[in-house]
Symmetry: C2
Subunit: 478 residues, 2 copies
């Protein structure tokens, strides 16, 4: 087992003074090397503890990104794109030093084409901001990672969330990009047409590349009409296996369910404590159905029949937005309920995804292992996709707890890989999954990824040390 170091700073380089001077000159008030600003840009939701970037540039337009990257290229110094800082895997940490390139001020919705179901946004637009802009058009953008992440960050990590089971992930929903390459050149990939066979799929190559191949400056995404009818439901199961097996059957039958989320009894208990609720403390599925009134009714009946076979009880239904929000409180609060259940703890989160038929094997054994290890945890799952997360709650002052959490994480991911799954369904590789990526896809594919990285960023300035370790960090094999 290869546990990533919490403080992998061996390769952190200070910024050349000439670069800092050049950035200051070019960007003026859009440049900051103040300690507090740097620290804001050197933290994410991961457990890594790494000194902050050397300085921060606040881009306000594409040309700012281009100029910042070009200057960093000139001085061969890392540049790290920054959205809202909600990465869970250390994507934005300056492991080799670097300039944080904050695109948060590039938060304009540039175009909404309701007639084509597309929108073009700057990378700093967050998903709730986009949805607010879409509401009057009767449209929505379905991808919803837990955090109110930026569309740029979501594109860079190939994010998904609760609606992906029906609407796909960023992979399926980004149509076109404007991107600043490693030399500071601005290129465009894709068009607003729904499909294309025009050359290499650069859009899909860049989506999920975690800022290592280019910096996105404009993103065109697909939109969807707000469903005519929406129904949400929660129900409880005698065992976790019953809830998982219900999910498997729903998916295998092709029910076009819009959301299918799982909490286990332990997590429901944490939510009850956190939010002063009285939910039955058993495994729970949270579901949502989108469609026409008749279509939704059909889905509901099918799902109810399946769930009842597995002993589901305590069905609760909600049709209005307010009722749905109330019903989903448990899901919305699960992460914070988990993290806040142990004062001062940090969460080591996992993110595995397996073929749907393997979900019970993957998930139940992982929960059993966590229980046996005695480490507090929470469990949430976008189970309709075969995707689940555990959060192991550790005392950051106790290395043995972190080691235990990483051991559980390793067992969980190894099992997912053995079952034909992936080491990350939606969080990305970042710093945390580099060893797993190699285990998952093999030396040949990782070597090919490295060849692409080397070709598109020969100076190695774009978010170095992510996806693949720095060659000197003892991971030369991948």
């Amino acid at each position: 087992m290869n546990i990533p170091a919490l403080h992998p700073t061996a390769h952190q380089r200070p910024a050349p003074a000439e670069l800092l001077q050049a950035l200051q000159t070019r960007f003026g008030a859009q440049f900051s090397s103040a300690q507090v600003v740097r620290e804001q840009h050197g933290r994410d939701e991961s457990a890594f503890d790494i000194p902050p970037p050397a300085a921060v540039v606040f881009a306000e337009r594409t040309q700012d990104i281009a100029d910042c990257v070009a200057l960093c290229a000139q001085y061969r110094y890392p540049v790290i794109p920054f959205g809202v800082g909600s990465s869970l895997e250390g994507h934005l940490l300056a492991v080799e030093g670097g300039i944080s390139l904050d695109v948060g001020r590039m938060n304009a919705v540039l175009a909404i084409h309701p007639e084509d179901l597309t929108a073009t946004v700057q990378p700093g637009v967050t998903r709730t901001q986009l949805n607010a802009a879409l509401k009057s058009h009767g449209l929505f953008f379905p991808i919803d990672p837990g955090a109110d992440a930026s569309i740029g960050g979501m594109s860079a990590t190939r994010a998904s969330g609760t609606n992906a089971v029906r609407y796909g992930t960023m992979r399926e929903n980004v149509l076109a990009l404007e991107v600043v390459t490693a030399t500071g050149e601005v290129i465009r990939t894709g068009t607003r047409a729904k499909k294309s066979s025009a050359g290499y799929d650069l859009t899909r190559l860049l989506v999920g590349s975690e800022g290592t191949l280019g910096v996105m400056s404009e993103i065109t995404v697909k939109l969807y009409p707000l469903p005519e009818s929406v129904m949400a439901a929660t129900c409880c199961f005698p065992t976790l296996a019953d809830a998982v097996n219900t999910t498997i059957q729903i998916i295998q039958l092709g029910v076009p369910i819009a959301r299918c989320e799982l909490l286990d009894a332990t997590t429901v208990r944490l939510v009850n404590q956190h939010s002063k609720l009285n939910l039955p403390e058993s495994a729970m599925l949270l579901m949502e159905f989108h469609g026409s009134p008749a279509g939704v009714q059909e889905q509901v009946e099918t799902v109810q029949a399946i769930a009842s076979e597995f002993g589901a009880a305590d069905f609760a239904w909600a049709a209005t937005p307010e009722e749905r929000t109330r019903l989903w409180t448990a899901r919305h609060n699960a992460y914070f309920a988990g993290v806040q259940s142990v004062p001062g703890c940090k969460a080591i989160t996992t993110d595995a995804c397996v073929p749907i038929s393997k979900l019970a094997d993957a998930l139940l054994a992982s929960v059993d292992e966590a229980v046996a290890a005695g480490l507090p945890y929470f469990l949430v799952g976008h189970v309709g996709d075969g995707n689940f997360h555990m959060g192991y709650l550790i005392d950051p002052t106790k290395p043995e707890e972190r080691e235990l959490a990483e051991k559980l994480n390793h067992q969980l991911v190894a099992r997912a890989l053995a079952l034909g799954g992936t080491c990350t369904g939606e969080h990305g590789v970042g710093l945390h999954k580099q060893g797993f990526l190699l285990e998952e896809t093999g030396m040949g594919a990782v070597a090919l990824m490295r060849t692409i990285k080397q070709a598109l960023d020969p100076l190695g300035i774009l978010n170095p040390g992510k996806i693949f370790a720095h060659a000197g960090l003892g991971n030369t094999s991948h």
Copy 2:
């Protein structure tokens, strides 16, 4: 306007005798340099006329592909993957010479996982073969280009077809690959999990790369449950504009239509002549609806209401497979009805795709231009995706007809690009669209594609001269 030469053989190189000897030794009866075999592998559905490859290797397993590529790499000689030869854009032609690597014998369905809705196939499996294997499982694979293409060829060109409006294209439906790289190494990309954020999306980079980055040896695709209920319909419209505007409204309303195909009056007339039918000779939409009985009923009612607003008449309905096949005869026969309507003609086919709201602008003007030019043509469209094809019927002995057809093609594509669309929705770039690719995506993106090509295939042996012209062919600018 830059019309690709019909006989661009300036760079065709003979095969080194040592290579042919080495292939003969390695492959024995799986190797052929017989003229008739070479000629079979030097023709596709495009209008180009190019001398055949130097020899053909019939791969029967992944190691055969690997060894063939490795030998070609050793002698720096092109290798061209071959499926069933149904390319429309010259993908398999030996413009720089080459060994045709025929994967048609690799036609095993390796695994069907009905419980996960996935199948893994060898590249020579055709779509009808796969669907025959799936039928007893109650599943199907929806991607259906006109020809009974191989899954390998469909993956390599990012193909789609009539069902793409609901089920997506090969881009959305290939989950994982086994690929032989330019050195003959075998790598794997992706997993059977539905989604992943594990590193660069090599699967999507390879899908649509037209054999220029690697040779696919195994393909894992998504499957779908056969719909509970299927209803097909055709209807006629007073004008072509009415049919197109009906389509636009159906898509904008988010109706989950499974197929939405268009023929214009001229094409229906050709079909009537070809198949001795009596269809009303007007613009026609052919539609199919998949879902539950109630869901299908709802879709049908919505679409009928929209179509009626645009003057639709002569609705014909079909619920059984036999009736549906009969109803769709016009669509199935359109290509051959077109090509056979002018004895001895060749079809120059186009393939543009635009944002749905621009479909009327793109399509109607192109038909008007064809009519004004007086060149026989046919028109078919996967219009639900904003994708349409015209086939200009030319006498191959008359260069002026070909020039006129290419001029119309150029106007059609230029208009599609101006409207925010793409120069190829599903046929690929091949030899025919190289200039358009540059116009569509710009120098920067094409340079980036070339950088990737150079990095992954530094010897330039994988299907050279496709997507990008040979540097010496006067296309050095892209």
